[in-house]
Symmetry: D2
Subunit: 358 residues, 4 copies
């Protein structure tokens, strides 16, 4: 089940330390300009090693398009993209080969599949999110043509909350932080965790502007439902809120309802979704990431023979996965909206008649 | 897109005030005892009019099985269930016919589809969740055979949190509350909202015990991802947390990681899921419901001609939808786990050889 | 897997002698006039007992719409339809309860599911095709709005081939025959089989006119591929040809290629499909049905205890299932084309821009 | 819609003259030995340039596995395979750039997508079938573990039918012919067509032995239905027969029914499928291929400006595509059966209890 989406479909492959990772994006309408530099730029935003706040693992993450475009445009056929792994053989994994790292998928994959690729987490590594970002970039290109823009940034780290949201600032912040005033304290928290060989969690605020009214397929493919699946499926995500989320559930109905006026909604507590369908307002969600399970303190665990042991991780790891999660959240938002935009085309006879007019 | 699940599949139909609502459950393995009284019992737990805390709307919610069973057992063919609406013609909807109730799907459905069934919310009514509960009951019967039990209860209302969780108490509490000591305060909050013609939100804690290790299909059909979709798709849900959820994102990695011992996990911050796959521990999630948008205070809105107006709702409505959401959360958990149990059967050659041994 | 289609989706339920059969049609665009009399009329065309050429089983096949329409129009929500079985208890099945009728699904269902509903074939009965016809009627209503018309008729019975095709004649022929001159010989062949307690096979020619260019989703959801699945999935179907079919495979390429002219294709050997996509010409297919396996001669078989025995069927059966297959072929053609029409809406950016123009 | 299968899923990409073609095989159970040499061997059987009967186009068709295996075994994660195109730039396509080759997808792709990759047919080229063969080889490896073997051969060319079927002979015949005595006449027909700048059609007989009883998911994912979709989706296929196919439809029911005995079925007219489910006998199908549309005689057609013209194709083409279709038919049979084997695992509670026994 390595396919995301019903009509705009991303299928991915690849392990952290295999030959390559990549994806096939199927269902892209023909005639879309495929800007390769833009796609590469999105991957560059996600790639590790960009600051002291993220893992030192070096990957050029150079993406190559193998199919689906012709003379710079999508042709309606599957767009395959591949990123060959360069850091593939640089590590010795014998120390974790036979044990289950706490907080990781080691234990569950080993039990589910009866074997596992232990090199850097194999398929369960966050490295896989590069393929999501590549696919998400194509989705963004399509959405842009419809006037939809997706943006995200760090809204909380280690319990330190942002007060103001500046999505332009996030683009240049090394933490991808939304609030310039809070950013220093958040950075300090990450560095402190790093120095104490520990890790911290955080949250990403992600939004889409310009979303047409009507996206979302009730009842079991609602926009908010599928956004939740999209975000919770990212490595280390533990909670998803739509709009005001939990806060909305602690106020009275009279406070939470968004009044409807000629100029649009008077407030946006709903996060741009009513009844599972976009209402034309800004679509917003908050995605919560747990602290990186990879820490450099001693931990208790089992090995594959069922023996208890204490182990201490070595290597390079993000002290706060939420940071690189920002770009991945954008990608998942874009993939979901692109799918919904295509699915919604069958909503009414009026649309069919427009398309099939002779 | 009114189908939930890939292999254990629920397809539902029906509007709040149409002739009937119902569902087809496809993919149920043959040879399962289909206990009709149990299914009816689940519907009775959800149905309105059971206490002064829920809507006074009267529906017997009598379910009838039309197909898929023979001599009390499932036959491997689709199980269709229907509930005929009895309260169908009792209301005059002319007052809301031409306006968009704030917080409801009226505005989005009307824009998406170009028309809408305004009677009681039509398809977007919470009445539809009865069909989910019927399907969920079949899923529970199947899961029971595998040793899996699902339970849920109210963990917060109007910001008043439960401290202890007693799932047996929830079965008898009219609030379906988990904490007997907090229940009175929570009930009072609901009643207070009701008296002031307003509404309150709340949260449901839902869990499954006895879940085999290995359920969840990475990467885009992870257990936690699909649970999120399942829960966020319920009417009025605004946030989903897995395991410790947001709290997990505010502690250090060394505190959040669950140590692995011979006796199992030393803690369960993860909520029973690692890498999107069940780890054998109790699967837990928290589902947050906004306050019912149907309130009896004057609100500003638009009508279908685009004119602003103030309106005051009349009729019968739950002051706190989270209460009846408890049974629906159980149903969605069960449907998701049943689907995952079937999907996981192809995980390794060992399973194929067991099934196809000659 | 009782769902047909990806976007225009038919999910069916019901056994031959259970309480009811029926379907949910999901994905119907909102704003379509749902003509109930037309749907009933289609069911009447299929129902048994209309002439001495089909089974004497009496079923009124009265269809009731339970949901998905409002004030005569589709609302974009699932359209559920139910047909209650009237002939439900009229038979004693003790004679076939424990044996496997040759040529039927008894043996395979019993082995696959470990049990079976032996009453009249249960789910595997051709009675289920009534639900396809109901769903197909909705598809036809949608296609009609796009200028597409579907028709079918008997083109061969017992090896006796039609020479000319008159689809209007088929509508009134009791054999649903296409060729008025050949019809008498074909009827005689059916009657002869019936008198000798045997059965005959036949073929249906089905076509769609007015199909827009571009329907079909390469590479694994081509129009011809999905039509084949649709037709071969009908009870008793054993072969499917597209366009000239086998004949096309016995001539030279220079004879088979359809030359393209300003006025359209100079011939239509292809059956209106090139590369899996409709080419604007008439879409044609031939569907072959085996002789009814239910015959009244003695046959050798096994019982569920593995013992050999000879048995002689009793009851009422079609001597030639192809006849009633005509209406079912039309339904499957319509369902496939309706799905393809919706799927094709995402083919190019031009369509998205039309739909999402602001 | 470039994905085939529901559980054992093949997703392919690539154009005839793009950088690469390839596939992702998802849903392969973990622990399967992935024999790369075997996969390459299957590709070698399909590749062009092996005899004077097929196209002279040279492609080494060297396949590279990028993911999904570890230490020689499948890991349960997606297996990506890529074949880089070598013959990519060797042609000048300016002569067909602006015209629609009769019998090809040029006309329909151009109309559907608004543009097209004209180099060698782009995505619609039979070159794509190499990706099917790669995926099919993995399916065969899995099926082999369950005792299932797939084989195929040419049963008719240019109207010249084989009388006897020798599947071992087909493995060494340059025509992949089933009948050693008829082979010379069939080869002569191909050569004659080639010399006259024309092409011929043919038919492939494909079968699977050792298929367990119970494969096939009624009602809309029957084994025969999905085999038909699989075969008809191959380039140039125009008809599919299951078992005796059309012949079965021309005899009496008493002749066509397969009697059931203690030793199994007394005959196999059904082709191993009853009610859409495998009955334990040999599964057989016949797939009909039209004559290659690429011929070297002058043909009338249109260009993209809508002007009529006459053109004469140049280049290298198979005079009979059915020959290389043999290996592709095997692949599609294997992919379908592998999918069905996984899907059937949820058929009865007995299987679930075997897998989830604690």
């Amino acid at each position: 089940m390595n396919t995301f989406g019903l009509k705009f479909r991303l299928t991915t492959f690849g392990e952290s330390h295999g030959k390559a990772i990549g994806c096939i994006v199927d269902g892209v309408p023909a005639g879309l300009d495929i800007d390769e530099a833009y796609i590469q730029g999105e991957l560059d935003r996600r790639k590790p090693g960009q600051s002291d706040l993220t893992t030192a693992r070096k990957e050029s993450d150079r993406v190559e398009i193998l199919s689906g475009t012709f003379e710079g445009k999508s042709t309606g056929t599957p767009i395959a993209m591949v990123i060959f792994n360069q850091d593939q053989k640089s590590r010795d994994y014998s120390n974790i080969k036979d044990l289950f790292r706490p907080g990781h998928a080691d234990f569950t994959y080993w039990n589910k599949y009866g074997l596992r690729d232990y090199r850097g987490g194999g398929r369960s590594s966050a490295r896989e999110t590069a393929a999501r970002v590549a696919g998400g970039a194509v989705a963004k290109l399509m959405l842009r043509e419809l006037g939809v823009q997706v943006a995200a940034g760090i809204v909380e780290v280690a319990g330190i909350e942002s007060k103001n949201y500046d999505f332009d600032f996030a683009l240049q912040s090394k933490l991808k932080a939304l609030d310039p005033e809070i950013e220093p304290a958040q950075i300090e928290a990450v560095n402190k965790a790093k120095k104490s060989h520990d890790s911290v969690g955080g949250a990403v605020l992600v939004r889409a502007t310009g979303v047409p009214i009507g996206l979302g397929e009730p009842l079991y493919h609602k926009l908010d439902s599928q956004l939740s699946a999209a975000f919770m499926g990212i490595n280390a995500a533990k909670a998803v809120e739509i709009g005001d989320g939990i806060e909305a559930c602690r106020v009275m109905g009279s406070e939470n309802n968004d009044a409807i006026t000629k100029e649009g909604f008077a407030s946006n507590h709903s996060g741009g979704v009513l009844g599972g369908v976009s209402n034309g307002d800004i679509v917003t969600a908050k995605v919560w990431f747990k602290p990186t399970p990879s820490i450099f303190k001693e931990q208790k665990t089992l090995n594959t023979d069922g023996e208890e042991l204490a182990y201490k991780l070595q290597g390079r790891h993000d002290p706060c996965v939420a940071i690189r999660g920002v770009v991945v959240c954008e990608a998942m938002m874009a993939l979901t909206l692109a799918d919904m935009a295509l699915l919604n085309m069958g909503a009414k006879m009026e649309y069919l008649k427009k398309v099939y007019a002779r």
